[in-house]
């Protein structure tokens, strides 16, 4: 779960990471009031989870409360990068002497966390990593030991002298945030050395491990502040992994790998998938029916491909779910069904006996993909 900047900064504040003075506004007048309190010279920042905010007009530096108000009005009215914006962060402008970068994240290969500090920040950090790797220092953190003092000292050793002590303190607090909040990423870009010598976090990117939300009740509660599309909410509630795409073949499968493979098969057959939907393991008749409802709620879907390879998932329950869905949603499009694995023969028999012409059996995954693509293009 990715936090918004203002939520990440609240987490930073709770752990004592220095920040610029700030406030969150949901209306232009609230933005104006915050700007007034901060003296007028502020940055108005769209709260979105897409990148490129600085270049794309999502961050506006203002010199007066009026400017802050109109910047907030524009961002809240127009949204950013095609997504609506419901909140802006209004932050006191800082006198920046130098822009740095600091992050702690998971290193899958080393199976631990790694902290990184760059003497250059505020810009495309991946480019710096490629072109000036010496500008970045890294250190692997053993989660049994935590971040040690010598590691923080090493990490800041290539920074301008004035920034070292402040950054060192911030690093150990970033690791505190990571472990306390079960984060898999804590990134500050830019980390700013101010003219007065302070080091402050001007941005906050925090990703919380979804697997840990069960023990992070307060953070899990933040989800309610995220805009959620009703179809997505329905899928989430039923424990389905659903991602909307823009094709015409609706996809339902069990297991992320098999579903990805099904998307590939549809694409190889010359079609485009309308979605990714993973039923998960041990799917019931009800979750199958809900899946079909979710997929069919997309008006772009011209045919559905159900691809199940049962391990824990049982074929007869999948078949029962498809029949249940036919009764509940009365689909107008054909449903191609490929069933294999546990109790698949029983499932295929149930579907055949129903004799509904909207159900099109397929013997293999590739045949299923070809049939579904042909049916979706009206050639089936």
């Amino acid at each position: 779960m990715d936090l918004y900047e203002h939520q990440g900064k609240d987490l930073f504040a709770a752990h004592g990471i220095p920040l610029a003075e700030r406030g969150v506004a949901e209306t232009p007048s609230e933005a104006r009031a915050i700007a007034e309190r901060l003296g007028g010279k502020v940055a108005v920042k769209a709260q979105v989870q897409v990148g490129g905010r600085g270049k794309g007009g999502g961050v506006v530096l203002t010199r007066s409360t009026e400017e802050a108000e109109s910047a907030a009005a524009r961002i809240l009215g127009e949204g950013f990068g095609g997504t609506p914006v419901t909140r802006v962060l209004v932050e006191r402008l800082a006198d920046i002497a130098d822009q740095l970068y600091a992050a702690i994240t998971l290193d899958r290969t080393k199976k631990c966390y790694v902290a990184m500090v760059s003497a250059k920040g505020g810009i495309d950090i991946e480019e710096i990593a490629r072109e000036e790797p010496q500008a970045i220092r890294r250190s692997a953190i053993d989660p049994m030991l935590g971040m040690r003092g010598f590691q923080a000292r090493f990490l800041v050793g290539h920074l301008p002298g004035a920034a070292r002590e402040g950054t060192e303190k911030i690093l150990s607090k970033m690791y505190e945030v990571l472990t306390a909040a079960d984060a898999t990423l804590v990134e500050i870009n830019p980390l700013a050395l101010l003219v007065d010598g302070k080091v402050v976090a001007l941005d906050a990117k925090v990703t919380i491990d979804d697997n840990a939300l069960g023990r992070q009740a307060a953070l899990a509660g933040l989800r309610s502040s995220f805009p959620v599309d009703p179809t997505q909410a329905r899928a989430n509630e039923a424990g389905l992994q659903y991602v909307k795409l823009d094709g015409e073949v609706g996809i339902i499968g069990n297991g992320a790998g098999l579903v990805m493979s099904t998307l590939d098969a549809v694409s190889q057959a010359g079609g485009r998938s309308a979605n990714f939907l993973d039923l998960g393991g041990g799917a019931s008749a009800d979750s199958m029916a809900t899946s079909l409802e979710v997929v069919l709620s997309d008006p772009g879907v011209r045919a559905v491909l159900v691809n199940i390879f049962g391990g824990i998932t049982r074929g007869e329950l999948v078949a029962a779910g498809i029949l249940e869905a036919l009764r509940r949603v009365d689909p107008k499009v054909p449903i191609v069904v490929r069933l294999d694995g546990t109790n698949a023969a029983e499932g295929r028999r149930i579907l055949q006996e129903e004799g509904d012409r909207r159900i099109v059996p397929a013997a293999t995954m590739l045949e299923g993909a070809e049939r579904a693509v042909a049916l979706a293009s009206g050639a089936g």
């Binding site: 994240t105 199976k111 697997n211 991602v243 790998g257 824990i312």
Partner: protein, 293 residues
């Protein structure tokens, strides 16, 4: 032969008194796996259809000489169960449980490092050496004893590829589902090394998917260290580019993590890549014909 599990495996099942635990313990035993013990705190002294249950893994190992453990406990207890199995001396620990927090797994990985245990998973279907032993939840009907080794990051996709192999009369020495979590135990490299050393395995199929850089590392390893033919499959060519926050991940791996990049790495290493499961089956058929018996 085979790798990691066979007739010598003496299995204990942690969480055996749960619904999943008892179901799969009995299913594994019915396949011929030597299931010697179960572990559930507070349930010591009970029996699951003749399998003795112990309060702790240490007692189970002492009484039954169990040398492997299957972990089927809820996510919040799973890290503890792995520590316990390792402490009791289990050489192989197979963790099926999904949803374990990354921080817990990072600590588990640090603890296990250098201690000589093999962890498979978590969030995986387990491992089967057809005709010998099944430790996990892979459906046994689709498998057949033979000489193809298989290692995969995915669950159901593993079943799909095994189905393609068996349908062509290509049996398997061992199928390993290593799991798709960011931090997991055994990886492609360890599995490939095992298959390379296993006299029974003649060719290997590797199933990867988008994300991370495990496939790129495997490609390099194959080029440098494998003499047996390897066929690869990567799922996710048409997957939507994942929403990504921050840049730290890409800086570490130096990889885009896309299916295209992974397939390219394999091809550059001389590994043939199937575009779909049928093609993977066909390529394996070629590989088995060409491979030394």
């Amino acid at each position: 032969m085979a790798i990691l599990v066979d007739e010598r495996t003496r299995l204990m099942v942690q969480g055996i008194t749960g619904k999943e635990g008892s179901f799969h313990a009995l299913r594994n035993r019915a396949y011929g796996t030597n299931v010697v013990a179960g572990v559930t705190p507070g349930k010591g002294g009970q029996s699951i259809e003749g399998i003795p249950v112990f309060d702790t893994a240490a007692e189970a190992v002492q009484a039954t000489q169990a040398n492997a453990s299957l972990v089927l406990v809820p996510a919040r207890f799973a890290a503890e169960a792995i520590y316990e199995a390792a402490g009791a001396g289990a050489e192989l620990i197979v963790c099926i449980t999904e949803g374990i927090p990354v921080l817990d797994m990072a600590r588990v990985a640090s603890y296990l490092d250098g201690r000589g245990h093999v962890l498979i998973g978590p969030n995986c279907p387990g491992i089967i050496s057809p005709g010998k032993a099944n430790v996990g939840i892979i459906p046994t009907e689709i498998c057949m004893p033979g000489a193809a080794g298989l290692v995969s990051r995915s669950g159901t996709l593993t079943y799909q590829i095994v189905h393609e192999l068996t349908g062509r009369g290509i049996g398997q020495s061992t199928c390993v589902g290593m799991g798709g979590d960011p931090i997991h135990g055994l990886g492609f490299l360890e599995a490939l090394a095992g298959f390379e050393a296993d006299p029974e395995t003649r060719a290997v199929v590797l199933i990867g998917e988008i994300g991370g850089s495990d496939e790129e590392a495997a490609a390099q390893y194959i080029a440098e260290s494998m003499t047996k033919p390897v066929v690869a499959y990567v799922a996710g060519f048409s997957a939507p580019p994942g929403k990504r926050m921050g840049h730290a991940g890409a800086i570490i791996t130096g990889s885009s993590g896309t299916a295209q990049a992974k397939a390219k790495a394999f091809e550059a290493a001389g590994v043939r890549v199937g575009r779909n499961s049928v093609e993977v089956g066909d390529l394996m058929q070629d590989a088995m014909r060409g491979a030394k018996p």
